[in-house]
Symmetry: C2
Subunit: 130 residues, 2 copies
DNA sequence: GCCCTGATTCGACATCTGTCAATATCGACG
DNA sequence: CGTCGATATTGACAGATGTCGAATCAGGGC
């Protein structure tokens, strides 16, 4: 995977709204978004991100779900394959943590002309320059 | 399944990293992320967002894909059901446009402690799993 | 060495998803 | 009114996905 598109040369807006995504990049982003497209995985990510120290072991977070441990492990694997998590074994336990740059990249892609704030509620006007 | 309850109301950071997502919210967000978890839909969204005027008719964007017209229509329906797009019929054509607040919400959720701030605890390695 | 605990992998299953061809709907134009 | 072009809906189908139980792997303690 190539996550180098973060620093787009001279791009003032999000690439999503600036120009059509290339197929390659769309596929790359879609894999990450698809990993987030499951409530269990979203909660897993949130649990890990909000855990003390920014990391958590499986035994700790699996208690928050009604799912079997293999299922939790499967979801963690999906998140890791998508590049959103990383993990490390320490003795008996395996600790997971979030990869901040991955989330940041996704967040940046979604930042369109709307920007971080929406001052005007009447969005009917199309203010996008041609 | 007793998660730690809300600490306090004033959320200064992203809720994803502040505290575990509630099941309701995770389900809501997951529906939107799942809609983005397909390269075709991502490109559709990008094509519409980057189109002149911020909106595009189906006949225009469908040319960029090798997919059948019903498939394009299906993906547009998914994006609309997720609250990411809205559409309007004008004569023969149907125009679609992006709902900025939806993308903004998703972008905000992903803005964790990473953001503009450089994390100091887990900066030992930035390599992603292969 | 042997077992015990934590975590992953495997195999199987039902369900969901993406795709197409065929058909239907909706509006414009003779 | 009939037809035509643009979208949407339906039905069907292969492939992906989420889930579990069982088996397996990895360390620690006896």
């Amino acid at each position: 995977m190539s996550n180098q598109e973060l620093s787009d040369g001279g791009a003032c807006c999000s690439p999503l709204a600036r120009e059509p995504l290339t197929e390659d990049w769309a596929g790359d982003l879609a894999r990450m978004f698809k990993a987030l497209g499951d409530p269990v995985r979203l909660r897993l990510l949130s649990l890990i991100a909000s855990h003390a120290g920014g990391e958590a072991c499986v035994c700790d977070i699996s208690e928050s779900f009604d799912l079997s441990q293999p299922t939790i492990s499967h979801h963690l694997k999906v998140l890791r394959a998508a590049g959103l998590l990383d993990c490390e074994r320490r003795g008996t336990w395996v600790y997971y943590w979030v990869i901040p740059s991955a989330l940041q990249q996704l967040s940046a892609v979604l930042l369109t002309e709307s920007g971080p704030v929406v001052p005007s509620e009447t969005c009917t006007s199309t203010e996008v320059p041609a």
